[in-house]
C-alpha cells in the first residue's frame, strides 16, 4: 500500500452546511475526537443561500401555533408520504433548536415584545418562520460556525470524499483528496455522518452551486444504504429567468409572504384559477383576503401564491406553456404593487427583502420596488435521499448516519419552505448525538488497506484517459456534465412520462460509458476539471436513482408529475415509498414499500386539523 496522510476520529462528519456543523457541535459535546470535512471553505455551504426563514412553532406571533399544527402542516405538505415519526420529532424539537442558536449569538428579527419575530410562508398555517430579513441562512450558518470553531472540532476545508471505507458490515472511515495539492487522505472513524446536501447539479436550471452533486447519496448507496423517494425533486417556483446567466438563482418565497403576487402576461392572478382540494378551506378566495393575510390578519386565509411549492411551480409551467408567460419564459412576480396598500412601500420592501432588492438591481437592472420580477421554476432541493432511522438518523450500514438534505423522510412528496433549516438543526443534532453514542459503544475497526490503492488508482484515471473518444468527440468533464444536465432537465424535470424516463435511463447509461473514459488535463493541483470528472460519478448515480424511482411511481403526487398518470394514486397501490438499493452484482434496483398506518395519536392530530 502506498502511504497516505491519515487522520483518526471517533466521529467524522462529511459536509459543513447547517446539518454537518450542527452534528459536529453535538458530537463534540463529550471529549470525543471529531473531524469535519467540507468541499468548500467553512461557512460557504448552501445553507448560506436559505433566505426566508427557519420553521419552528415558537408561537411568538400567533399563540394558536403549536408543534401539533406544524406536524399536521408538514404531513399535508408532504402529501402524507412523510415519515410521521420524523415529522413529529421535527415539529417538537425545532423551537428548542432555534432558541439555542440565540445562545450561540444568532440575532433574529424581533417582535414588539422583544422575542423572535416569525413570518408567513407557503403551507404553514400560522406565521412560523424565524428570520433575519431575507438572509436567515447566513445568520444560521455563521452562528453555527462561530460556535463550532471553539468546540475542538478539526476542520478539513476544501477536501472531497470519494469513497466511504467499510470493514465487514461497518463503516470504518472515508477516503478523499484535498483540493490544494490533490493529495489523498484517509479519515479513519468509528462513526461517519453524511451531511452533503443535494443533487441540483444534475439539472441545467438550478439554484445549487457546483458542490451539489449528490455525493452523500452516492457514497451511502455504494456502501449499501438505501435511498428512498428519489423521484421527489423540488422545483422551486420562483427562480430568476433573465438574464440567461442568472437563470435559476433563487427568489425567496418571502417575496410572496410579504404580499408579492404572481401574474401572467394578461395581468391575471392565475393562482386563483386552480386551488387544490386539500387546501380549499385554507385558501383565500379573493385578493383582498389574501393581502390581509400577509399583513397579519388572523381571520384571513392565505393567498394562493402561498400554496405549496410543487403546485405553484406547476401553475407557472401551465401559464408559460399556454402562451401567457412573460417575455423571457416565466411569469411576473410583483411586490411593487403594495404601494397601493401601504405608505413608504419602496422603503418597506428594501427593509424586508434587502438581498432580493440587491440581487435584481445588480444582476438584472431591475428595481423591484418599481417593476415586477420575471420568475420561473428552478431545481432547488431533493426530498428523497438516504434512508435513516427516524430517531437516530442511522442508515442500514452500522456506524453510518445521515442528516439534512441528503437524508430523507421528513418532507415526503413536497417540502414546505422553512422546513429545511429546521430539518438540518433537529436532525443534525440527532445525527451527531447518536453517532457519538455509536462511537462510544464500539471499538475502532481496522481499515481494509487493500481496497484503498484501488480507489486511489481509479481516482487518478481521468489523467490517463485520452482527450477524445475514437470518433474525435471531446471527453472533457464539462461537456459530459452539460449533456447530463440537459437530459435530466428535459426528461426528468417537472413533467415526466414512461417514455421520457425510459429514455433518460438509457441516456444516463450512455453517459456513464463516457464518464468511464472522462479526461482531465493538467496536474492534481486545485484542478477544477479533475474534480468535475470525479463528481460526475456521483451525479450519474443520483440521476439514475431519480429516473428509476420516477418510473416506478406511476402517479402524480407532490413534486412528481407523470403526464401519463395524472391521477394522485395508482389504483389499488396504497401509500408507499420507493426504495433504491444496489444489488450484489452492482445493478440499481427499485422496489415499493408500503407506508405503515399512522400512530393513533398522530392520526388524531391530522383529523383534528382538517
Amino acid at each position: 500500500m502506498a502511504s497516505y496522510e491519515t487522520h483518526e476520529y471517533d466521529v467524522l462528519i462529511i459536509g459543513a452546511g447547517g446539518a454537518g456543523l450542527r452534528a459536529a457541535i453535538e458530537a463534540a459535546v463529550g471529549d470525543l475526537k471529531v473531524g469535519l470535512v467540507c468541499k468548500s471553505l467553512l461557512g460557504k455551504a448552501h445553507t448560506v443561500m436559505a433566505e426566508g426563514g427557519v420553521a419552528a412553532a415558537l408561537a411568538n406571533v400567533d399563540e394558536r401555533d403549536s408543534w401539533r399544527v406544524h406536524f399536521a402542516d408538514t404531513m399535508r405538505g408532504g402529501q402524507y408520504l412523510s415519515n410521521a415519526r420524523m415529522a413529529e420529532l421535527h415539529a417538537q424539537e425545532s423551537p428548542d433548536r432555534v432558541r439555542e442558536l440565540e445562545a450561540w449569538g444568532a440575532l433574529f428579527d424581533r417582535t414588539q415584545e422583544g422575542g423572535i419575530l416569525q413570518r408567513n410562508f407557503g403551507g404553514h398555517q400560522y406565521p412560523r418562520l424565524a428570520h433575519v430579513g431575507d438572509r436567515t441562512g447566513l445568520e444560521m450558518i455563521r452562528a453555527l460556525q462561530d460556535h463550532g470553531i471553539h468546540q475542538g472540532i478539526e476542520v478539513h476545508m476544501e477536501n472531497t470524499v470519494v469513497s466511504l471505507l467499510k470493514t465487514g458490515d461497518r463503516v470504518s472511515g472515508a477516503f478523499g483528496y484535498e483540493r490544494e495539492k490533490g493529495r489523498f487522505k484517509i479519515f479513519a472513524a468509528k462513526a461517519v455522518v453524511l451531511a452533503t446536501g443535494g443533487v441540483g447539479k444534475a439539472y441545467k436550471i438550478t439554484s445549487n452551486s457546483w458542490e451539489y452533486t449528490g455525493d452523500g447519496h452516492a457514497l451511502a448507496y455504494h456502501a449499501g444504504a438505501e435511498l428512498i423517494d428519489m423521484e421527489f425533486v423540488q422545483f422551486h417556483p420562483t427562480g430568476m429567468v433573465w438574464p440567461p446567466s442568472v437563470r435559476g438563482i433563487l427568489v425567496t418565497e418571502g417575496v410572496r409572504g410579504e404580499g408579492g403576487i404572481l401574474t401572467n402576461s394578461e395581468g391575471n392572478r392565475f393562482m386563483f384559477d386552480d386551488i387544490p382540494e386539500l387546501y380549499v378551506n385554507q385558501t383565500a378566495d379573493n385578493p383582498e383576503e389574501g393581502w390581509l393575510y400577509t399583513q397579519g390578519d388572523r381571520e384571513a386565509r392565505r393567498p394562493p401564491e402561498l400554496l405549496t411549492r410543487d403546485h405553484v411551480a406547476r401553475c407557472i409551467v401551465r401559464e408559460v406553456q399556454e402562451g401567457r408567460g412573460s417575455p423571457h419564459g416565466g411569469v411576473f412576480l410583483d411586490i411593487a404593487w403594495i404601494k397601493e396598500k401601504i405608505p413608504n412601500a419602496p422603503e418597506h420592501i428594501r427593509r424586508k427583502l434587502p438581498s432580493m432588492y440587491h440581487q435584481f438591481k445588480e444582476l438584472a437592472n431591475i428595481d423591484i420596488t418599481v417593476e415586477p420580477m420575471e420568475v420561473g421554476p428552478t431545481t432547488h432541493y431533493i426530498m428523497g435521499g438516504i434512508r435513516v432511522d427516524a430517531d437516530s438518523q442511522m442508515t442500514a450500514v452500522p456506524g453510518l448516519f445521515a442528516a439534512g438534505e441528503c437524508a430523507a423522510g421528513l418532507h415526503g412528496a413536497n417540502r414546505l419552505g422553512g422546513n429545511s433549516l429546521s430539518d438540518l438543526l433537529v436532525f443534525g443534532k440527532r445525527a451527531g448525538e447518536y453517532a457519538a453514542q455509536f462511537a462510544m459503544e464500539n471499538e475502532t475497526v481496522p481499515i481494509d488497506e487493500t481496497e484503498i490503492d484501488t480507489i486511489a488508482a481509479h481516482t487518478l484515471k481521468p489523467f490517463e484517459n485520452p482527450q477524445t473518444d475514437g470518433n474525435g468527440n471531446s471527453m472533457g468533464p464539462y461537456d459530459i456534465q452539460a449533456q447530463l444536465q440537459e437530459k435530466m432537465q428535459d426528461l426528468v424535470g417537472i413533467a415526466r412520462s414512461e417514455e421520457s424516463l425510459t429514455q433518460a435511463l438509457a441516456e444516463v447509461q450512455a453517459l456513464r460509458e463516457k464518464a468511464e473514459i472522462v479526461h482531465a488535463i493538467g496536474n492534481r493541483e486545485y484542478n477544477a476539471g479533475w474534480h468535475t470528472a470525479l463528481d460526475l460519478e456521483c451525479l450519474l448515480t443520483v440521476s439514475e436513482a431519480i429516473a428509476l424511482a420516477a418510473l416506478e411511481r406511476r402517479a402524480s403526487i407532490g413534486a412528481h408529475s407523470r403526464d401519463d398518470h395524472p391521477e394522485k394514486e395508482e389504483p389499488g397501490a396504497g401509500k408507499y415509498n420507493t426504495i433504491i438499493k444496489k444489488t450484489g452484482d452492482g445493478a440499481m434496483t427499485v422496489r415499493r414499500e408500503p407506508i405503515d398506518e399512522l400512530r393513533a395519536d398522530l392520526q388524531e392530530i391530522i383529523d383534528e386539523m382538517g
Partner: protein, 244 residues
C-alpha cells in the same frame, strides 16, 4: 468577443494568460471565467459557490479592483481592452484565481467567542428590542469574502498579518462587543494583539464591501473610542487632542 487576461500559475511561477470568449447579455465576470474554464482551460482554479453575492467565495481583483466576480456585470467593465482578473493579492497564491485565505480562519479562532448573559426568561430566551440590534445585524451581514482584508494597506502593503486582524475581524469584534446580550470584554485584545491602532481610517475597506457595511464609521471608529475610553487617561487624551 472580449479578451480576459487571467492570472495563471502557482506560488512557484505565474503570469497573465489571455483568453478570448463570447460575451452575451447580462453576463458577469464569473460567467466569462466559467465559460473559459469549460471550453479552454478545464484545469483553471477558481472558487465560487452561490453565484448570487451571498457566500463570498469568488473574491478577485478585476481590473485592479477588489470585487466579487459573480456580482460584476460585464456591461460595467470596458470590453474594448483586456479585462484583467487576478486573485486577491493580500494573501499567498494557491493557484490561478485561488488565494490561500486560511489566515483569516485562524484569526477568528483566537478571538474571544460570544458569551451571553443568563437568559431573561424561564424558557431560556432573551428579550431584545429591534432598534438595539439593528447595528449588530448590519455587521452580521458580512459574507466573509475578505475583500476588505485584501484592500487594507496594513495587510496588503505592510504585511502586518501577525499584528493586525484587519477590517473583517474588527467588524466581527464589533458584532460581539455591541451584541446586546454579550458579556465579554475584548478591548485589551483589540488594543494589543488585534492591533486596532494600525487602522488609520482611510475607509478603503468600506468602499469595497459588497454588503455595503459601513465598516469604518459604524464598527472600527466606535471600537477605537471604546479602547481609548478604557485605556487612556481622559486628561492625557484631552492633551493629545489639543497638541495635534
Amino acid at each position: 468577443m472580449a479578451t480576459f487576461r487571467i492570472w495563471r500559475g502557482n506560488a512557484d511561477a505565474a503570469q497573465f494568460v489571455d483568453y478570448e470568449t463570447e460575451v452575451s447579455e447580462g453576463m458577469v465576470v464569473l460567467d466569462a471565467v466559467h465559460r473559459i474554464q469549460a471550453e479552454q482551460a478545464n484545469d483553471m482554479a477558481v472558487r465560487w459557490n452561490c453565484k448570487a453575492g451571498k457566500c463570498g467565495s469568488c473574491s478577485a481583483e478585476i481590473n485592479g479592483q477588489p470585487k466579487l466576480m459573480c456580482m460584476t456585470r460585464l456591461d460595467t467593465v470596458p470590453l474594448d481592452e483586456p479585462v484583467t482578473i487576478e486573485p486577491m493579492r493580500a494573501f499567498p497564491l494557491i493557484k490561478d484565481l485561488v488565494a490561500d485565505v486560511s489566515w483569516n480562519f485562524k484569526v477568528k479562532e483566537r478571538m474571544k467567542p460570544f458569551a451571553p448573559r443568563p437568559p431573561d426568561t424561564e424558557d431560556g430566551t432573551w428579550r431584545m428590542e429591534q432598534e438595539d440590534i439593528d447595528h449588530v445585524q448590519e455587521f452580521r451581514k458580512c459574507i466573509e469574502c475578505f475583500l476588505c482584508q485584501d484592500v487594507c494597506h496594513v495587510l496588503r502593503d505592510h504585511k502586518l498579518h501577525d499584528e493586525f486582524i484587519g477590517p473583517r475581524y474588527l467588524v466581527y469584534a464589533a458584532s460581539l462587543e455591541m451584541h446586546p446580550i454579550d458579556t465579554e470584554n475584548r478591548l485589551e485584545e483589540l488594543k494589543n494583539s488585534d492591533g486596532i491602532g494600525y487602522c488609520n481610517i482611510t475607509k478603503c475597506c468600506t468602499k469595497v464591501c459588497p454588503e455595503h457595511i459601513t465598516i469604518t464609521d459604524n464598527a472600527i471608529i466606535p471600537l477605537k473610542e471604546r479602547v481609548v475610553d478604557q485605556f487612556y487617561d481622559p486628561i492625557k487624551k484631552l492633551f493629545r487632542v489639543f497638541s495635534r
